[in-house]
């Protein structure tokens, strides 16, 4: 059913200096209205995936109810409408990350697939035996394993730039690891396990001076920071729709046009070709060369609605508000003597990881869940960085602009309950 009128679900108007109307924003997210174990749901697992506003849910059902057709291959009205809607999102994404042209935006399945695509196309064609790929200690498994696989295939070597006890990249050690064999630097914009915001401009600048290309894993940054890929001058940037209030199953890969032109295709199939005979195939132009098969059309349209929604609020205001939340949470948890914060970088966003003396994170997670509070516990798909801190797991609260100070106070209160249970 698609009865919702556009005006009711229109995103709040962006007003640079006005505070967020969080109560009104919360009404846009139907999932937040429920209770868990008798308590109002407090969703603090946003780094794993974000919740979806009604406009995103409506955009997807409206597409299936009104416009569903395959794209780029029909002359009929529905196909034209579906193609238009899909291609319009490419422009929305281009603007969202400051890319020079919409053709530099490739729709994939996830941030993970974006990284694998680069490793298997750019990587396979440009990297050889003895070349080096440089990552950091704080990478998510999806920015480690594809490079390990590439190293195994090509005989290249994986190097890892270390971090300090606050969870910050040690820049001069990073610089020392760069050499003329370094072909790719793959680095996260924001660490999902620590919340650290990396100094991308320096990282990219140094890499380019050594002739290396830079892939930025923006999975955690897209929901929290204004991204400008041209100002950063990164070569590749990836993020996932589902972490930026859009649906699962869609990811974005940005690459500079000249790189996309040179790269061999990733998968073969329909859509990515211009002409096919049994002897020869001519590939389609970018970005379609990298979008083999029928894509996740509804998902891409949902992502478009999510980015419109985020733009409507304004990433500057979102970042400012979330920073306040992070400050408040940091103080609230640091006030509990048994709590140790993991990840205390000077520049952080939206993630608060911690351990409690003598109590396993898993038990912390279960007790706070009884109070309706959803946090993540475990290694957060970033085992090496958890190891770096001598741990096997942490608890992590991660924030979105629909969270409130009261919810953080509820977490702090639930932490006292944790201490009671395990006293």
């Amino acid at each position: 059913m698609i009865t919702a009128s556009d005006s009711r679900h229109a995103p709040p108007m962006a007003q640079a200096d006005a505070a967020l109307d969080v109560e009104s924003i919360r009404r846009d997210f139907p999932i937040l209205r429920q209770t868990i174990n008798g308590h109002a749901l407090v969703y603090l697992d946003n780094a794993a995936t974000s919740q979806k506003p009604q406009v995103v849910i409506d955009a997807i059902s409206r597409y299936y109810a009104e416009d569903n057709a395959n794209i780029h291959r029909g002359v009929h009205a529905l196909s034209v409408r579906a193609t238009d809607a899909y291609e319009k999102v490419r422009i929305t994404v281009q603007r969202f990350i400051g890319a020079a042209e919409p053709e530099e935006i490739v729709f994939v399945r996830s941030a993970t697939e974006g990284i694998n695509l680069i490793a298997q196309t750019y990587g396979r064609s440009e990297i050889g035996k003895g070349d080096e790929i440089l990552i950091t200690t704080m990478e998510h498994h999806s920015n480690i394993v594809p490079w390990q696989m590439l190293c195994r295939q090509t005989g290249a070597v994986l190097r890892v730039a270390p971090i300090n006890d606050d969870g910050e990249l040690i820049l001069d050690q990073y610089e020392k690891l760069l050499c003329d064999r370094t072909k790719i630097v793959a680095v996260t914009h924001i660490s999902n396990a620590l919340g650290t915001i990396n100094p991308l401009s320096e990282i990219i600048d140094l890499a380019h001076r050594h002739g290396a290309r830079v892939l930025v894993d923006g999975a955690q940054a897209a929901p929290h920071l204004c991204i400008d890929v041209q100002a950063l001058d990164c070569d590749f940037y990836v993020f996932s729709s589902h972490k930026v209030y859009g649906p699962t199953g869609v990811g974005v890969l940005y690459a500079k046009r000249e790189l996309l032109e040179e790269m061999p295709p990733y998968q073969g199939g329909g859509e990515m070709i211009q002409s096919v005979t049994f002897d020869e195939t001519t590939y389609n132009d970018v970005p379609h060369k990298f979008e083999a098969g029928t894509p996740n059309i509804a998902g891409v349209i949902g992502l478009g609605a999510a980015l419109d929604y985020v733009n409507g609020i304004g990433l500057d205001r979102i970042a400012a508000y979330e920073h306040e939340l992070l400050d408040h949470a940091t103080h609230a948890l640091a006030a509990i003597p048994q709590v140790r914060l993991i990840g205390t970088a000077r520049h952080k966003a939206a993630v608060l990881a911690f351990v409690v003396e003598g109590i396993h994170p898993h038990d912390v997670g279960t007790v706070v869940d009884q109070e309706g509070i959803a946090i993540r516990t475990g290694h957060h798909c970033a085992q090496p960085v958890i190891d770096r801190f001598g741990l096997t797991a942490t608890a992590r609260a991660s924030f979105a602009f629909y969270n409130t100070r009261e919810e953080i106070d509820a977490l702090a209160a639930a932490m006292r309950r944790v201490l009671e249970v395990f006293a």
Binding site: N37, G38, I359, H360, P361, H362, D363, T366, V367, Q370, T377, G378, H379, Q383, I386, T392, A393, V421, F422
Partner: protein, 150 residues
């Protein structure tokens, strides 16, 4: 509403605070390592088996309260049992936690292990409770493979 203390019963909290038999065995007949990738828990189980009787059972490793208490209580309950009885206990314990306990109604008495009956209402925690048991099972099966190939 589920009560937290259905899960964290006093006996469990006690075995978490003061785990029994938490030490490495110097000359085990068999040992195995268990890993729960979900929470990063690791446990090693050491068994001494003489004339098909488990004469010694210890563990070491780090984990959450449920997995630590379960490892501790596992070592207490298999020690002194015949290997047959220990295996039957594993099957019954596993059945209780995964909700397949009907056909094992006439198996061995679970005794203290009944304190874990509340865990099945916390599906995310079932693996914590069964980790040490799966590891013990791997240890004694490994011994049999070794024995059978000799």
């Amino acid at each position: 509403m589920i009560d937290l203390y259905d899960l964290y019963q006093e006996l469990i909290l006690d075995h978490n605070r003061r785990p029994r038999n938490r030490r490495k065995l110097e000359d085990p007949s068999c040992q195995a390592e268990g890993y729960n990738p979900l929470c990063g828990d690791r446990v090693t189980v050491y068994l001494k088996i003489e004339d098909s009787v488990v004469t010694e059972a210890t563990f070491d490793g780090s984990g959450c309260a449920i997995s630590t208490a379960s490892a501790s209580l596992m070592t207490e309950s298999v020690k002194g049992k015949s290997l047959e009885d220990a295996k039957a206990l594993f099957r019954k314990f596993h059945g209780m936690l995964t909700g397949q306990s009907i056909e094992t109604a006439d198996g061995p008495d679970l005794g203290k292990l009944e304190v874990f009956s509340g865990v099945c209402r916390f599906p995310a925690r079932v693996k914590c409770a069964t980790l040490a048991w799966h590891t013990a099972n791997a240890a004694w099966e490994k011994r049999e493979t070794v024995v059978s190939t000799e």
